[in-house]
Amino acid sequence: MISLSAAAPTDVITSEAMATDVACFPSTSQYFKLVESFKNDGFEMCVDLCGVDYLEHFDRALPEGVVATRYEVVVNLLSLSKKQRVRIRVQAGNDHAEVDSLFSLYPGTEAMEREAFDFFGILFTGHPELTRILMPEDWEGHPLRKDYGIGKVPVQFKHAPGPR
């Protein structure tokens, strides 16, 4: 059971039926303020930040009033003092996904946001240097998108020549 502090934006939708932890569904404009209110409320650590591409699943189960978009950014916060976790799912957008960066609140999100950008192309405004982190610098495309193929090479069995 979690209650949003008074500083949180008033119309953030929360749901306890969605997940094993409580999930909050702010809009992109409420997102930064909500995380800030959680931080001031005792959630000292941002444990995880990742992106999800729901290309074909606009009909996924979401609470009333939340408009599903293709990309979602999922943030997990942890409170050491209260021993509690909370999950924040923000709908980031369809083609040009862009959300606020949490770097000024939690410097530990720097690498995680770069990873979300590298894999999905989600932009984070306010990030000090949003570059690719795991793929080579000149890689084209964002690999974890659902319309990016896995890149399987068909296996061939042929008469093996000698080495060199």
Binding site: P143, G149, K152, P161, G162
Partner: protein
């Protein structure tokens, strides 16, 4: 094994056999451990599966001082040019063992991120399968390589460019080695 070579080579052998003995008795690996296979490579160099008895316990950090590159682990697209660079820095004669299935063929990761077989980048002499290969498998691969160096098969192939096969060497003294140690693609 080394002592027998010594006696024969000093009394009757050719200089080539001496050089080949020296080359295979002190192959120095370049440390190129990438992933899980690197841990098994370290275990092979440690106490229980000692590589030092083959003269190989010194893992040289500088590729210029190394003879053998054991590519241990999966090679990603970002790492491929680095791998080639390290290989180029090694001095001739140099050998490559591809350790593990990820280095040999891409392994279980048939996707955009992994080079499907390190032989697309560097020429490989011995492939050691396993995920990860147990240190015993790695030692078998190393001994196979030693055997190839000892009989001179590697240098002959490199010079003439023909595919490997088991051939009778001119050296009359060829000890009986188990068939499993001698490799070659079927004719």
């Amino acid at each position: 094994m080394a002592l027998e070579d010594l006696q024969h080579n000093f009394l009757t052998g050719q200089i080539e056999d001496l050089v080949r003995w020296a080359r295979r008795a002190s192959v120095w690996p370049a440390s190129f451990g990438l992933a899980c296979c690197a841990i098994e490579m370290m275990a092979a160099g440690a106490a229980d599966f000692d590589l030092s008895r083959f003269g190989m316990e010194v893992f040289r950090n500088s590729p210029r001082q190394a003879d053998l590159m054991i590519v241990a682990g999966r090679v990603s697209q970002k790492m491929a040019p680095v791998l080639r660079q390290v290989y180029d820095q090694m001095m001739e004669p140099k050998w490559v063992i591809s350790m593990g299935v990820c280095a040999s063929s891409g392994g279980m990761f048939n996707n955009y991120a992994i080079v499907q077989g390190v032989d697309q980048i560097v020429p490989v002499d011995v492939y050691a399968p396993g995920c990860p290969p147990s240190p015993e498998t790695l030692m078998h691969a190393i001994l196979t390589l030693h055997e190839q160096i000892r009989t001179g098969e590697i240098m002959k192939r490199r010079a003439e460019g023909r595919p490997t096969h088991i051939e009778e060497s001119n050296n009359l003294w060829t000890p009986e080695v188990p068939v499993a140690v001698r490799i070659g693609t079927p004719k």
